[in-house]
Structures are given as structure tokens and as C-alpha cells.
């Protein structure tokens, strides 16, 4: 696995650099927003900084989710697929290195969020603590990837990306319809919404919501593992869909 992981890092170094740059650039671009804002009270507002931090974290995971297909695509060659299956590593090692690379990227985003939040707090004098939110997003990303990756492996990245895009479009459409016509009173006003987030960060959750969160994080990890097992099974079937 060590060797395959090294191969992944070398093979995808350009993509990793682009993703890293995108994450850092977006974070910095959003992070300096409070400084250039006309509203004087915003620049030292902890709630506002927190909102920016959370947005940055969501965007970083979203970038990872959008680009992770490239890690799979990089090895879409029939010759490589049959070769790696014949080695002692087998298809399992190949899939394992891909899944592990995605977790590594997830960890990098989590660490970056921590570092960036610290830097932002120093400059803005605020005291935010969104690392637990970022860790929760870490599991959310694993959960979404668990459904995304087996499709890419079974039907090739072309087919997988189609499923990926359709799913995203459906989600966006459902969210759009809900925000246009649905009941938004559950979110309350902006202040109430942030109050809820602050309560969540301070651990003031109802019994039911904390149970759902607890089950969700472990279910995400479990789904990711099952997805890996499923992908191992699908690997050779997906070779039929490779162009070369």
C-alpha cells in the first residue's frame, strides 16, 4: 500500500497542488472580507468571523468532493487495471490507496481549517471554535464519497460523474425549491440561526439531535468502509467502461 500511495501522490501532484491552491486562495479571499467590509462593526464580530470560517470549511470540502474523481480517472487504463490485479497488491490495494488518499485530503482540509481559523482569529481578535464543525464536515464528506466513489469505479469516471452531477443537481433543485416555497421559519432570523449554531458549538443540543449526530458520524465511517469493499468488488467490471 505504501508504494501505491506514493504513486498516487506523485501521479496526482498537479491536481493536489491545484486543490491546495484553490482552498488556500478561497480561504484567504474570504478571510480578508471582514477587513474590507464597509460595515465597521463586522470587522470585529466573532459571529461574522465564524460564519466566514464555516463557509470556508464547507467550500474546501466541496472543492475536494468536486475534484476527487480525478484521482480515480488518473488510472483508467485497461492495461494498468489488469496489471495491478495480477500483482500481490491486487485490485484491493489499488482501491485502498485511492480511498486512503481521499481521507488524507480530508485530513489536510481539517488541519488547514484549524490553522486558518487560528490565523483569522489573530488578525481579527475574535475567538471562534469551529474545529468540531469542520470535523463534522469531514464525516459528511466521507458519507457523500461513500456513495459517489463506487459509481465512478463501476461505470468509469464518465458514467460516475454523470451520476455525481445528477445527484448534485437534484440536491440543489430540492434545496432551491425548499428555500423558495418551503417553510423557512425553522431557521428563524439570521440572529436566531446563528444562536442555534452557537448553541450547537457550546454543546447545548437536544437529546435527539445529539443522538442523530452521533449515529451519523459512525454511519458515515461505516458507509465509507462498505463503499471501499463494494468498489473492490466492482473494480474489474468497471474496466469495460474505460476508453483506453
Amino acid at each position: 500500500m505504501k508504494g501505491l500511495l506514493y504513486k498516487e501522490l506523485v501521479q496526482n501532484k498537479a491536481m493536489l497542488a491545484v486543490m491546495g491552491f484553490a482552498c488556500v486562495f478561497l480561504s484567504v479571499a474570504l478571510g480578508i472580507f471582514p477587513f474590507i467590509s464597509d460595515e465597521a462593526d463586522v470587522s470585529d464580530d466573532t459571529a461574522f468571523t465564524m460564519m466566514i470560517m464555516m463557509f470556508v470549511s464547507i467550500l474546501d470540502y466541496f472543492i475536494l468532493f468536486c475534484f476527487q474523481g480525478n484521482f480515480i480517472q488518473a488510472d483508467e487504463l485497461k492495461k494498468w487495471a489488469y496489471f495491478i490485479t495480477s500483482t500481490p497488491e491486487t485490485a484491493e490495494g489499488q482501491i485502498r490507496s485511492k480511498y486512503f488518499l481521499i481521507v488524507l485530503c480530508d485530513m489536510a482540509v481539517l488541519i488547514w481549517t484549524y490553522v486558518f481559523e487560528t490565523i483569522a482569529n489573530i488578525f481579527q481578535g475574535s475567538q471562534t471554535g469551529i474545529i468540531s464543525v469542520s470535523a463534522l464536515l469531514f464525516f459528511l464528506h466521507l458519507f457523500l464519497s461513500a456513495f459517489d466513489l463506487p459509481f465512478m469505479i463501476r461505470f468509469g469516471t464518465k458514467g460516475g460523474n454523470m451520476a455525481h452531477t445528477i445527484t448534485l443537481l437534484i440536491l440543489v433543485a430540492v434545496a432551491g425549491i425548499y428555500f423558495l416555497f418551503g417553510d423557512l421559519s425553522i431557521f428563524g432570523t439570521t440572529d436566531q440561526f446563528f444562536d442555534k449554531i452557537m448553541k450547537f458549538l457550546n454543546g447545548e443540543n437536544s437529546d435527539g439531535s445529539i443522538l442523530i449526530l452521533g449515529l451519523f458520524v459512525w454511519a458515515s465511517a461505516g458507509c465509507y468502509y462498505l463503499s471501499y469493499k463494494l468498489s473492490c468488488r466492482f473494480y474489474l467490471k468497471g474496466v469495460e467502461y474505460y476508453a483506453k
Binding site: 500500500m1 505504501k2 480530508d106 485530513m107 481539517l110 488541519i111 484549524y114 481559523e117 487560528t118 490565523i119 482569529n121 489573530i122 481578535g125 475574535s126 475567538q127 474545529i131 468540531s132 470535523a135 463534522l136 469531514f138 464525516f139 454543546g203 437529546d207 435527539g208 439531535s209 445529539i210 443522538l211 442523530i212 449526530l213 452521533g214 449515529l215 458520524v217 459512525w218 465511517a221
Partner: protein, 288 residues
Amino acid sequence: MQNKKLEWKRVIIFLILSYLIAYIPEFILGNQMGNIENWTDPKLSVLVLFITYSPALAVVLTRYITKEGWKDSYLHLNDKGNLKYYLLSVFYLTITGIGFGMIMNLMTGKSILQGFSLIRFIGTYLYVTALSVPLGFVTFGEELGWRGYLYPKLEKLIGTPLTIIIGGIVWGLWHAPLTVKGHNFGTDYIGFPYTGMLLMSIYCIATGAFLMWLVKKTNSVWTSSIAHSVNNNAISAIGFTIASEIQEDEITQMQSALVMMMFQFIICMIFMIFLIKINKNQNLPAES
């Protein structure tokens, strides 16, 4: 002989560096800001990360200075066939949290599970343990230094039981500037701050034994990083879910820390026996 001398030299360089890198910012902060409850400046989170990574930094510098290279770095995951140890690193120390909560209830005159909500307990338990896994990157710095470098070296030089004791004391004293400023125990207790430093060392001896056992079993510091993260992030959260009705003025920080440490000491010392057993088994062929 030459090898032993070199190993001692490496241990000493590592210790000097890891203490210096951690102590200097801690002393400056302590002088400027007073007790730990005043350490609210956001700049501190950079320093905290820097301090927690000081043993890792010391490993890098020691390996570079002594031209040691990166052999036996314990950096590999080695997860294949070691899933049970990874699971143990996530769940084992949570026993402390459960015991701590129950004893705290009894100490304050409540029934053992007074105010206990099973749904809240399960939710909190699952949530904090899961989140502690990715947050292991915070404790990784310490683990790379202590369990990934100091403990294996000491074990070769002075044997397993002494490594657990001396390693634990070294690890405990490394926390001393924080203990002096009220970390873990507060400042309101008999023999402050020396009692706190002594207790911290005892706690580190016991916890260190478990973490060392994990590293020995998996040859990876990742398991101990996860267990350390669970220790820092999950235990008290789990404990206070059980002891949810305890008010702040009912129990002092020292009392609650003592209960937690007592429990941790009991559940971790078992591993000292395991470690000595492993060592004996490993030495058998050489002795015969």
C-alpha cells in the same frame, strides 16, 4: 557500548529540545497572562499547537543533528490486521469517562445514574469518540515524540518497567508549566503546585503504559494519537453526560481530576503487566 552511548546522547538531546521548545513559550505566557483561565488570547491557539508539537519538532531535530535517519519512526499506519487495536484506541479510555461520571454522582450525594439520559449518553458517546479520531492530528505531535521516539529508546536502554515509570515522569513534568498555571487541577489545592505535578506524573505513567502498549502492538504512533485524542476530547464529555446534574460549586477541579485519574490509573496499569509479558516473550529466544 558505543551504540548505547549514542542512544543515550540521542535521548538527552531529544529531552533538552522537547522541554526547551515547550517551556520557553509556556513561561513567557505564564508571566504575561497569569493563570490558565486568563489565557483567552486567540494568539494562544498557535502557541498551543506549537507546544503540543514540540516533541515532534524535537524528534526531527534530534534525528537531523545525530544523523539518525528515519528508521523505526513508527509513522506507518499498519492498519492491516490491526483493526482491533485501532478500535481499542478509540473506545478503551472511554471506560474512564463512564466510571468518572458515576463516582462523581456518588461523591456529591446523588444516586449513581441520577439525571441520566440514555439517549443523550449514547449520542454524546458516539459523537465525541468519532470526532476524536480526525482530531488526533493535534495529539500526533506529542505521540511522535514520546511513544514514537523516547519510549522505544528508553526501553532498549533501561527495560520496560523503568521506561514506563521514567517515561511517564518525563511526560508528566513536561506539562509542569501548565500545571503551575492551573491546568488540569486548578490552583486551589493542598501542596499547590507540587501535588499537581506529582499527580500528573502518576497519571502519565499509567496512561503512557496503555499508549506504549498500543504502539508496540501496531508499530504505529497513529493508534496512540487517537487514544490520546480520545483522552483529551472525549473522557470528560462522556463523564459529565452521566454526572449531568452536578453543579460547578459541588466539586473542585482537583477532586474531579483525582477521580478521573484514579479510574484511568486502574484501567491503564493492566497494560504495564501486558508490556512486561510481551517483553519477556520477545526476549525468550535470545535468552535460550
